[in-house]
């Protein structure tokens, strides 16, 4: 395995020079440091909650899943391996997987049917909060998303923000299965190259 390459791009956490990184906080959390976990909570929950709520829509369920995610972070912090990616990336990966698992559970699927009309494949930029993320980062991601083809962007958005499986995405976009799989991958590759991310690095 190659060593992770340093990122020219700040992690999701808007870490300022001299500020403790999310990775450091997670390492301290793994040693049972509740103060570090408390700071980490403040740093990452806006991303976790925003993402979970975007996928689940239901506010009560979103709070419940956010809580599960953060308890999972506490419990499994000892298993975090910085060589595999940033702390931010690790936590958001847990959050996404949990939200998606929840939305695919039967009850949630039933709820979702009722919400289908309200769902949109557009990315809801208006939900961005200036208080929790830097304008710069939001702008850069948005600009990079604009470089994707429509099919790439829609395939990725339906999967990431709505929690659909790729066969569901293919059905909704009336596209072939291999096409959707390929667009998800080449869209993410384009996004990665545009953002200059490597392994979601920065601890």
């Amino acid at each position: 395995m190659p060593a992770p390459t340093p990122l020219p791009w700040p992690g999701g956490s808007s870490t300022q020079p001299g500020e403790v990184s999310d990775g450091d906080l997670l390492v301290r959390t793994a040693r049972g440091d509740t103060a570090a976990f408390s700071t980490l909570y403040d740093r990452v929950t806006p991303w976790v909650f925003g993402l979970v709520r975007r996928i689940l829509r239901n506010p009560a369920q979103s709070e419940e899943v956010t809580q599960e995610v953060m308890l999972d972070v506490w419990r499994t912090a000892t298993r975090y391996d910085a060589a595999r990616g940033s702390a931010h990336s690790w936590i958001l990966t847990i959050a996404h997987r949990r939200a998606v698992d929840r939305v695919r559970s039967e009850q949630a699927a039933a709820d979702r049917t009722d919400l289908v009309g309200a769902r949109s494949t557009e990315i809801d930029f208006d939900q961005v909060s200036d208080t929790v993320t830097t304008r710069l980062e939001v702008e850069q991601v948005r600009r990079c998303l604009d470089t994707l083809t429509e099919l790439q962007r829609e395939s990725i958005a339906l999967a990431y923000y709505e929690g659909y499986t790729y066969p569901e995405v293919a059905q909704r976009l009336d596209a072939k299965l291999p096409t959707v799989k390929a667009r998800m991958r080449d869209g993410l590759i384009r996004l990665r190259d545009c953002l200059g991310t490597t392994k979601g690095a920065t601890a």
């Binding site: 929950t45 991303w47 925003g50 931010h88 990966t93 997987r97 929790v132 939001v138 993410l188």
Partner: protein, 239 residues
């Protein structure tokens, strides 16, 4: 990693868009595909950036619940020998129904990602062991070559083990729409794709090595090509 269809699953995988059965199969495949593992880590780094677009603070009350719940949740022991294990002594405080429920949730939650990382670590160890095994073969041969534009490619092959260790170092940065692609060339001069790399890489290639006469490295459009774009950035004869 030669089956193109499996390779494209890195995209749906990092988006959690694979149906359950395919996810399980792909995770199994990841244990033996160094290129895929590397790509998953990289694409994941990009995918999580999508969350910036929807950030919203949770209700403030949630934090008190979480902070109170963790007092009753035992952390998993570290996997790495020597890592600190001073987590067993937790303060005890009065439990509310809510924190108990939350604690139960936390315990029931055997996070897929934690397992993921555990497996990944096992996988790193296994990959290291496989590399060491190839290097230890009595018939192991090493070929070095300069990469056009900068950097070094090294291939250690063992015909007995039918395996090779490929090391790409100090490769120049490619334009955003280009990727490195590694090939094995057979005696008929047909190139077979081994996989893609976005930059420096160390990986083990298993199978079909004995019948190959060379390894090639080319620069291709993002996503790779079915056939190498020549001239190659490096060509290392192995037979």
């Amino acid at each position: 990693m030669t089956e193109p269809d499996v390779h494209t699953l890195t995209g749906p995988y990092v988006l959690d868009a694979l149906p359950e059965d395919e996810r399980a199969r792909f995770e199994q495949h990841l244990t033996e595909c160094g290129f895929c593992t590397n790509e998953v880590a990289e694409l994941r780094g990009a995918a999580v950036k999508l969350a910036t677009q929807v950030a919203t603070p949770p209700p403030p009350a949630l934090k008190a619940d979480v902070m109170s719940a963790i007092e009753h949740i035992r952390q998993l022991p570290p996997l790495v020998p020597g890592a600190t294990d001073e987590v067993s002594r937790r303060r005890f405080s009065r439990r509310s129904v809510l924190t108990l429920a939350a604690a139960a949730l936390g315990v029931a939650a055997s996070g897929g990602i934690a397992i993921d990382q555990y497996r990944d670590k096992q996988e790193v160890i296994q990959a290291n062991e496989r590399m060491a095994a190839v290097l230890a073969e009595p018939d192991a041969r090493t070929v070095h070559g300069a990469v056009k534009g900068g950097g070094q490619a090294t291939v250690v092959t063992s015909a007995d083990a039918d395996a090779a260790v490929v090391v790409l170092r100090d490769l120049p940065r490619l334009p955003a729409n280009r990727t490195w692609q590694l090939w094995m060339i057979d005696p008929n001069r047909t190139a077979h794709s081994v996989g893609l790399a976005s930059g420096d890489l160390t990986t083990v290639v298993e199978g079909s090595v004995t019948g190959s006469v060379a390894f090639g490295l080319t620069v291709e459009p993002t996503g790779g090509s079915p056939e190498p774009t020549l001239p190659a950035a490096a060509l290392l004869p192995t037979a």
